[in-house]
Symmetry: C2
Subunit: 257 residues, 2 copies
Amino acid sequence: MGTTGQLATVPEPKYWHLRTVLLRAIETEFTTGQILPNERELSARFGVARATLRQALDQLELEGRLVRRRGIGTLIAAPRVGVPVNRHEEGWPGTARSQAWRIVDCTTAPATPRLAKALGVVEGATVHTVRRVRMVQGQNMATESLHVPAAVLPHLPGFRAESDRARSVLRQLERLEVDGESRSVELGVAEAGEAALLERPPGSPVLVMTTQYAAAGRLVAIAVSTYRADTCKLTFGETGLVEVTPVAASSEVRSAS
Amino acid sequence: MGTTGQLATVPEPKYWHLRTVLLRAIETEFTTGQILPNERELSARFGVARATLRQALDQLELEGRLVRRRGIGTLIAAPRVGVPVNRHEEGWPGTARSQAWRIVDCTTAPATPRLAKALGVVEGATVHTVRRVRMVQGQNMATESLHVPAAVLPHLPGFRAESDRARSVLRQLERLEVDGESRSVELGVAEAGEAALLERPPGSPVLVMTTQYAAAGRLVAIAVSTYRADTCKLTFGETGLVEVTPVAASSEVRSAS
DNA sequence: TAGTGGTCTAGACCACTAA
DNA sequence: TAGTGGTCTAGACCACTAC
């Protein structure tokens, strides 16, 4: 029983074959920023319905190879941007606060049951939530909701302008000497609010990173970040050791064997 | 200028509204493993074309909330499995080799240009490639291609059975005392070979993790792992500090604010 | 105004599963 | 065999962009 069956007798779907053909064309005949022929022409050229062609384009867009702009056309996408993910890049430790993050708003409200459970506090406990947007190369790449139980920041100054309170929360958090973080990454889709901040339509694929921050062995904050999956590649440079040579796009390496 | 415009005058697409309605239903009226009404009935019930309903189901499947099985029906998916990602879990260091990985095959061939560049070796240099599959909870969750330049393993025994050579490559690599790794994660789709190993159709979304392993400040191996995005949540437990309380599914926390 | 991608329809047939 | 999701078609209209 061969594992795969390379010469499968089952014909592959048209849209998958189309994707392969288009991918080869993208890699050999086009360069970043170029515009593909429009969908109606492409579907005619390949002798398929427009919906079938779009299925192939959907795949390539999910892979970050194409960008489609309404009213404009379908463009060859630039390679994904490697976005460093660590406390330094997130403007956390005593270091100078990163310029990459822009504060959107800051709310203080009782924790919903789910949030309370995630933070390990009682239901209804007051929680500060700071929303930020991360810009990379002039583009909104990620949004983040940072949740901090009020009990963790006992010395937070009183009422201020929202942006001041947000900055205060971040500053106080740094003083706790966060000494550990635990992250998880999964696939999600952008909800309305996130989609607007990321300048993408609702339903766009995102990489959802959940980070637990600990200080003195105690969970002090949770950040939920959503990164644009079309243009982002999350990089976890734990120690910054390996800098020998940049790694090619993973899909290229994958097909290289 | 309100950031979002909650009461947008622009009507949201039917499929997006449908997704929201179905998501609420999934969370309140159904439990894991239950079967939804079939697509033809659902589309009739909501008064839309089947294609439109399927667009909504596509979204929910991408979010890992639904699993669709041909000939069976559409099922409520189990919550995503948190898959630990670190050298211990990958069976790397001197510790007992993980039982989670099963060796598929092992090839020794000259490096393609892309692979050579990624590994920092000259084009055509001999490279060992070990393919493995990671099982979690009785399911194939990931495939991995581990590339090691032959020059890194000078004392590799001669010809053997393929599986023996694979094990030998892994063992020799461990002896190098790998002291650093650098990872990146991005969204991809399963190609034919990966799809077969993951028991998913081609084009299924995957999380592609590229890991550079360093020993003595030198890049000694690159691993390209593809994890099923529908059922996996990658967890990076750097130090295993935070164990206060499990974090709820990120989408739940996200909507909790 | 012309051209683009985005949405939606109403059907058809196929591949797979289970009884 | 009946029922399911997967694929594909040929069209329609809409929202957006640029000229």
